[in-house]
Symmetry: C4
Subunit: 278 residues, 4 copies
Amino acid sequence: MKMITEKILPDVIKKRRTDSFKSNYGKVALIGGNENFGGAIIMSTLGAVYAGAGLTTTITALSNQTSLHSWIPEAMFLDYSNINETNKLVNKMDVITIGSGLGTDENSLKVLKNVLENVEPQQTLIIDGSAIDLIATYNLQLPNVKLILTPHQMEWQKISNVKIKDQTEKNNQLAYHNLAQNHELILVLKSEHTHTYYQNDVYLNTTGTPAQATGGMGDTLAGIIAGFVAQFGYSEKVINAAVFSHSKIATDLAENQYVVLPHQISQKLPEFMKKNEK
Amino acid sequence: MKMITEKILPDVIKKRRTDSFKSNYGKVALIGGNENFGGAIIMSTLGAVYAGAGLTTTITALSNQTSLHSWIPEAMFLDYSNINETNKLVNKMDVITIGSGLGTDENSLKVLKNVLENVEPQQTLIIDGSAIDLIATYNLQLPNVKLILTPHQMEWQKISNVKIKDQTEKNNQLAYHNLAQNHELILVLKSEHTHTYYQNDVYLNTTGTPAQATGGMGDTLAGIIAGFVAQFGYSEKVINAAVFSHSKIATDLAENQYVVLPHQISQKLPEFMKKNEK
Amino acid sequence: MKMITEKILPDVIKKRRTDSFKSNYGKVALIGGNENFGGAIIMSTLGAVYAGAGLTTTITALSNQTSLHSWIPEAMFLDYSNINETNKLVNKMDVITIGSGLGTDENSLKVLKNVLENVEPQQTLIIDGSAIDLIATYNLQLPNVKLILTPHQMEWQKISNVKIKDQTEKNNQLAYHNLAQNHELILVLKSEHTHTYYQNDVYLNTTGTPAQATGGMGDTLAGIIAGFVAQFGYSEKVINAAVFSHSKIATDLAENQYVVLPHQISQKLPEFMKKNEK
Amino acid sequence: MKMITEKILPDVIKKRRTDSFKSNYGKVALIGGNENFGGAIIMSTLGAVYAGAGLTTTITALSNQTSLHSWIPEAMFLDYSNINETNKLVNKMDVITIGSGLGTDENSLKVLKNVLENVEPQQTLIIDGSAIDLIATYNLQLPNVKLILTPHQMEWQKISNVKIKDQTEKNNQLAYHNLAQNHELILVLKSEHTHTYYQNDVYLNTTGTPAQATGGMGDTLAGIIAGFVAQFGYSEKVINAAVFSHSKIATDLAENQYVVLPHQISQKLPEFMKKNEK
C-alpha cells in the first residue's frame, strides 16, 4: 500500500501556462440533484468550479436552477429531464460526473441509463452516490470509458458484493479487478481512511478529520475530482491529489471548527491549490 | 435552581473520535416554514447543520426549497405537503423538530398531527413555535417519545394554562409535571432569562444579551438543540449546553453589534464549539 | 437651519435594557417591490432588520419571496396581492413603509390605496418612492397618522408642485405646511444634501459621499428609518439619526470604495450603532 | 501598437464630484441570460453595478429573476420576452449590453433583432458573446450607434471572416475598418493578450493571468465596460481602462489563487477603482 501525502500535490497541480485558455482546462458536466437532493449537485458544482475547471455545466432538476445560480453563476444549467439536450451536451464534455443527489427513482434511472449509453471512450465518467446504487440494483453495464467510481463502504458493498466487514485490501482488489475487466477504472473507496485502487496499486489517504463527518462531503469530492481531471488529466495520481486536497483543506479548517461544512472546502480550493502548485 | 454556565460545555461537546462517520452524528428532520414564514425554518436548519448534525433534512413548503438551498446546500429538502414521504422520512430520523414557522392554518395542523401520530419512543421530538400553539388550541395529545418543548412565555401560557404573571418557578414546575406525566420531557422556557425544567430540577441560563431581542432567535435555538441532541444525546445537560451556546455566541457578537441576527449565531457555531470541546 | 451631526446619535441610539423582548423593538411592515423592482424591497428590508427592528414582515410580489429569504431569513413574507391578509397584518404593525420598488401600475395603486385607507393614527407610515408618485398623480389623500415622507427632488416636485429649481428652504417649508395641515408629518427631502422638515424646523444632513450616487440608496434609507422609528419612536430627532447613520456609514465605506452598494450600508448598521449607542 | 498600462486609470477614473446624483452615472441595460446561461448575465450585472453605474436594469429570462436579485438587489429586472417593455426601457438607456448568455435560439435572435432596430445614435451598444455569433450567422446589420464589440477569437473569426491563424494586427485592422464603415466602433478582441482596435490605433493589454482562464470572464468584462462607459463616456481610453482593470484585479487575486472566479473580480472593483481614481 502506498501513502498519499502532500508530496503528490506539486506533481499534479501544475503552474498554468501564460498562454492558456479556458478550453485548456476542460469541459465538465455534473449530473444529479433531484427535487429532494438539490444541494448535493450544488456542492459538487462548487468543487469543480473552485478547483478551476474551464467550463462547467450542471445538469439537474429544474427546481435547482435558481439555487445553483445563487451559489455559482459561473456554472451553466441544463434541465436533466431534457434528454435530447443532455445527450448533445454530454457528447462535448471531457469529464462527466453522475450521481450526486441523483436519487434512485424512475427518472434518475432514465437519466443514468442514457448517460451510460452515450459516453465515449475518450471521456472520463465519475460515478458517484445514487448512480452506484442504481447500477448495482439494476445490474447496469459499466461503459467502456475512463471510469472513476467513488462509493462509500455501503455503496461498495452493493456494487461489489463485498460486505463491509469483509472489505479488506485483498478482497477489494479482487472486486476491483472484477469490475475493471473491460474498462479503465480508478476506485475511490471512501471511509474515514479513503483508499484508491488502480490496477495493482492501493493508495491510502493520510489526512482527514472527523469534522468532515457530515452530509455533502462525498458530493463535494466528486466535483473536485472532476475539476482536477479536467485540468490535469485522468490518472490515479491526479485523483489521489484531489482526494488529498479535499481532506487536507478540511483538516486545516478543523483546527478552528468543530464541524467543517462541505461548501467551505470548495471555497478554499483556489488558495490551497496556489500554495501547492509547481 | 441550578446555574447554566460555560462549565457545562466541555462536558457535552466531546472531541470527535477519529474513526467517526456522519451516521454517528444523527439524522435530523426539521419540519416547519409555511408560505409566509419560510425564513424561520431556514434559520432552524442553519442551527442544526452548523452545530454538526450528521444528516439534515428540512421538511417545509415547496416555496422555501430554493431559498433553503441558497443558504445551506448541506440540507436535504422535502415538501411537507407530501405526507407519505414525510412519514417515511420521519421514521428514519433520530431527532425531529416541528414548529418553526409552521403557522397555525389547516395545513400546519395536518402536518403536525401526522408527525405526533408517527414518532416513536426512541426518537427525540422538539416542539417549537406554532406547533405548541396548535397543540394547546386543539388540545392534542403529546406523544410518548423523548420530548423537548421550547415555548416562549405566551406559548407556555397557552399550553400550561399558567398566565405569564403567574409563571413562577413553583407554578411552572407543577405545570411541567402535569405535562410530563406520560413522557420524558425537557422544558426550555424562553425569556430574557431562559429556564430549563427537567424532572425536579430547574436550570437558569446565565448568559444572553438584549441584542438578541429580534425575530428568529427561537427558530435558531430549536435548530441548535436538534443538532446537539443528534450528536450528544437526549439529556437536560445537552439541551442546557445548546441553550448556553446560543446565548453566549450572541453575547460575544453583541460586544460589537447593536443587534445580533440569528443566522450569524449559527455561522459562529463551528468555531465556538471547537473552542469549548473536550 | 440646524445641522445634523454625529452628536445626535447617542441621544437616539439607546443602550438596550437587559430585560427587553423583541416586542419592545416594534413590528415593521415594508410594502413594495413589484415584479421588476424586487431588489428595492429587499434592500429596504435589510435596512430595517439590520437596524434592529423587533419583527419585520415584507409585503411584496410573490416573485420576490425567494430572493428576499435568500438575503434575510429574519424577515417574514406576505404576497401583496393578498389584500385581506395585508390588511390584517398592517393593523398589527407599529411602523409601515410603502413605496420602495412598488411601481406605478394598477396593482401598485390598489395596494397603496388599501394601505392609506387602513392605517390608524397611532401608526407610523413612511411613504417612499413610487408611492409618492402615485399619491401625486392620483391626488390621493394623506391619512391622519404619523407620517414620514421621503421624496427625492423630482418626487417632491410632483407632490408639492414646487419645481426643482424653486426648491428653496422657504418654498419647501410652505409646501411642507400645506401638506402637513391635518397630520403629523416629517419630510425627508433627499438630495446630495438631504434636508429634514418638521414643523418650523429645517435640518441639514452634514455627511454623505458621492459614492452613494447609485440605485437603491433611497430604498435602503426608508428601511433604516423604519427600523429606527420601531425602536426609538417617531420624532424628527430619530429620523435625523437614521438619515445621518445611513450617510455616515456610506462615507466611512467610501474611504476605500469608489462606489458604495446600498446593501453594504445595512450590513454595517449593527457595528455602527453599537459604536454610537449610549 | 500602444500599451495599456495602469497609467491609463487616473485619466479615466475621475474622483466623483460632491454634488453628483445617480443620474450622472448613467443608465445601463444588460440584455442576455437565457434559461441555460443565466449565470452569464448575473456576472455581467455584477460588473456594471460594482463598477458604479448609476442605474442598472437586467433584461433576461424570467427564470433568472430570483438568482439575479439574490446576487445583486441593486439591479432592476425585466423579462426579455416582454418585447414592448424592453423597447420602452432600452429607449431610456445610455448604455446597452447585449449577448452575455443570450444563446443562439429563435428567441435570442428575436430579442437581438429588436434591440438592433431600436437603439439610437447617441446610445452606446456593447455587443458580446452569442449576439456576435447571431449577427454573423444571420448577417445582421450593425446599427448606427456608438458600438463596442467584444468577441473572443472564434467569434471574431465568425463576424470578420478572418480565421484565427490569420488574425494578425494588420488583418484585424482591415477587418475592423470594414465593419466600422458606417458607425463608431471600438473592437475589444479578447485573448490571452487582449487587443483594442479604434480607428487607426491598436492597443495591447499588458496585464492578465492564466488564472482567468475560466468560464464567465468575458461576461464580466462586458458588464465592467458598460459600467465604465456609463460613468466616464464612450472612448477607446475608457474601454481600455475597463479592460485593464478587469485583468489587473484578476492578476492581483491570482497571487493567492490558482483560479480566479469572475464574480470575485467585480466585487473587488470598488476598492480597486478607489485606489486608482484621481
